[in-house]
Amino acid sequence: MLQANNISYQIGSKSILRNCTIKLKPRTFTAIVGPNGAGKSTLLKAITNEVKLRNGSITVNGHSSSALDSKALSRIRAVMPQHTSINFPFSIEQIIEIGRFPHHTSPVENVEIIEKVIEKTRLQSYKGRTYQTLSGGEKQRVQLARIMAQVWDKSPHPKYLLLDEPTSDLDILHQHALLGTARELMSDNLGVLAVLHDLNLAAQYADYLVFMKNGEIVKQGETREVFTKENIETTFNHPVQMLEDPTTGQTIVVSIPNHMHLEPQKEIRYA
């Protein structure tokens, strides 16, 4: 289990995170949602030891994360950043290979793993391409391939994939491809945490939802229990409607444009 216990973080006197507690379990897809500036990405950075906490602690599979060095941590969790820019021309294979650096596998095995993750992320036609010449969405897929290579090995302990807005630059085809791949990777030894902007995507893929607002976790729980009109409206300060998708039977959320603002009590009728 990857666990943040009652963590707080502040810059100067400005409080960014307040008393956040969150548990990541293997075979669970957790999504963090919330308005801009709620502290979603900061929470992810705090969980991955990128910022110095004011108080609280992070435990990784039962160990305090401060007791583990970067190498040990990188064998347990892989992090996909929001944007990665590179000033030197690297090929996509060279980028993906970096995911294999923490491991002591043979070079032959590494090349095989790189081939497999390229296939999984459907990047075959991009082999040999320079990373800098790719579009934002293509770059995100290469980064996913890299962190997949990092958690590829079978291991006795659980591992975690942490994704910071992984679908921000992707079209709908690739949004589903990426999140689908992340779900496929889940196993009894692998859990996923993603910061997501799109509430419907979050509800479709996550088993567990975390609502954040003003640096605090306002609500968290099983998706089917917490994905409600009330939770969404209090978190985002904006009126929404919950509908049922006739094909999948899933609950979806529709936000209401300001110029069509309806009376709060009034039901909306859809044709």
Partner: protein, 359 residues
């Protein structure tokens, strides 16, 4: 998955790095031998090998005493000295560009060059003004440690300024380097204002760079720090590849970023400080060589670092060859040659790279 394809692909990858390094080493060797034959006194490759064999105890006299002296006391030490300096500048340039994730960085950026210049300046001007004229034989001993100390001191001040909450911030570090360099140059400028003609001349020549100063004794002093730093820097290539993605990405890939950063900055300061203390300031090698390697072959630091070390040596041999033949029997200052030849080439590289979207 066809594993035979995988293995052949892997072999070809490994082969590329090994092949390129070997090819560059052979090129450097050829250049070295060729350069030994060039000069006022005629020396053929067979005469060179005879002299070397003679020194090793195999007597076969088919050379003159003058040739022997020219080779052993002038050309050979100068060339080995040149190779060491070129290696130091090339490898530290490549490593610093890697750690700062910035292709515009060169050893001067962290303050090494200016600090070393200030150290040399203290010897050439400061000490002579306060203590009186220092004999050249003593100056030779004082210059290197002062220049090295100045370089390391400036680097550590830069590092300290660039340090925030236990982390080195690259932008602040580069700005701190600019500030420290400016301060060092201001002190030098102030000194120059009060310097007499002789002091000015000596110092100006030091800042222009000089490879003719290479002696066996100096080679003995700089070999170990330069070769050791080069070997350690070569071993950091993988970490540098990860750091190219960004510092947090490298951290999450298992790299101890702070340790790598400190090690590289220290080794580069050591390398360049030691080199510059004897040769004077030689610009552009550290900036241009890693670019040429990256554009010609690959950005993979497992190729860039070793090839920049060898390439730096090769480039400096070529520049020195040019410097000592073009106006023979006199010679041009090496720093002027590298800057004069390096700048147009660098501008050419920039325009090409811009078009190919490589920078």
């Amino acid at each position: 998955m066809n594993s035979s394809i995988t293995i052949s692909k892997l072999k070809s990858q490994k082969l590329t790095a090994g092949f390129l390094t070997t090819a560059m080493a052979l090129f450097l060797l050829a250049l070295f031998l060729f350069s030994l034959t060039i000069g006022a006194v005629e020396l053929s490759v067979s005469e060179i090998s005879s002299i070397l064999l003679d020194r090793l105890g195999f007597t076969n006299q088919n050379f003159t005493a003058v040739q022997s002296v020219v080779l052993m006391d002038i050309r050979l030490p100068r060339l080995i000295f040149t190779i060491l300096i070129g290696t130091a500048l090339g490898v530290s340039g490549a490593a610093l560009q890697g750690i700062f994730r910035n292709p515009l960085v060169e050893p001067g950026i962290i303050g090494v060059s200016s600090g070393a210049a200030l150290g040399a300046f203290v010897v050439i001007l400061g000490l002579t003004s306060f203590i009186g004229e220092i004999p050249d034989s003593l100056k030779v001993w004082l210059l290197p440690p002062f220049a090295f100390l100045g370089g390391v001191l400036a680097t550590f001040m830069t590092l300290r300024l660039g340090n925030y909450q236990g982390k080195v911030r690259v932008t602040i570090l580069i700005l701190a380097g600019v500030a420290i360099s400016t301060l060092a140059n201001a002190i030098i400028g102030l000194g120059i204002y009060y310097a007499d003609d002789q002091q000015l001349r000596t110092f100006t020549f030091w800042t222009l760079g000089d490879l003719s100063a290479g002696t066996w004794q100096k080679i003995g002093i700089i070999t170990i720090p330069i070769i050791a730093s080069t070997l350690i820097l070569t071993r950091m290539a993988k970490s540098l590849n990860a750091i190219a993605l960004g510092e947090s990405e490298a951290f999450h890939s298992g790299v101890n970023v702070e340790k790598v950063k400190r090690t590289i900055v220290f080794l580069s300061a050591l390398c360049v400080g030691v080199a510059v203390s004897f040769s004077g300031i030689i610009g552009f090698v550290g900036l241009v060589i890693p670019h040429i390697i990256r554009m010609a072959f690959s950005s993979d630091h497992r190729i860039v670092i070793p090839l920049s070390a060898l390439g730096g040596a090769a480039l400096l041999i070529l520049a020195d060859l040019f410097a000592r033949t073009v106006v023979a029997p006199s010679e041009l200052p090496i720093g002027v040659v590298t800057a004069a030849l390096g700048t147009p080439f660098f501008i050419y590289l920039l325009t090409v790279a811009k078009r190919k979207n490589l920078i």
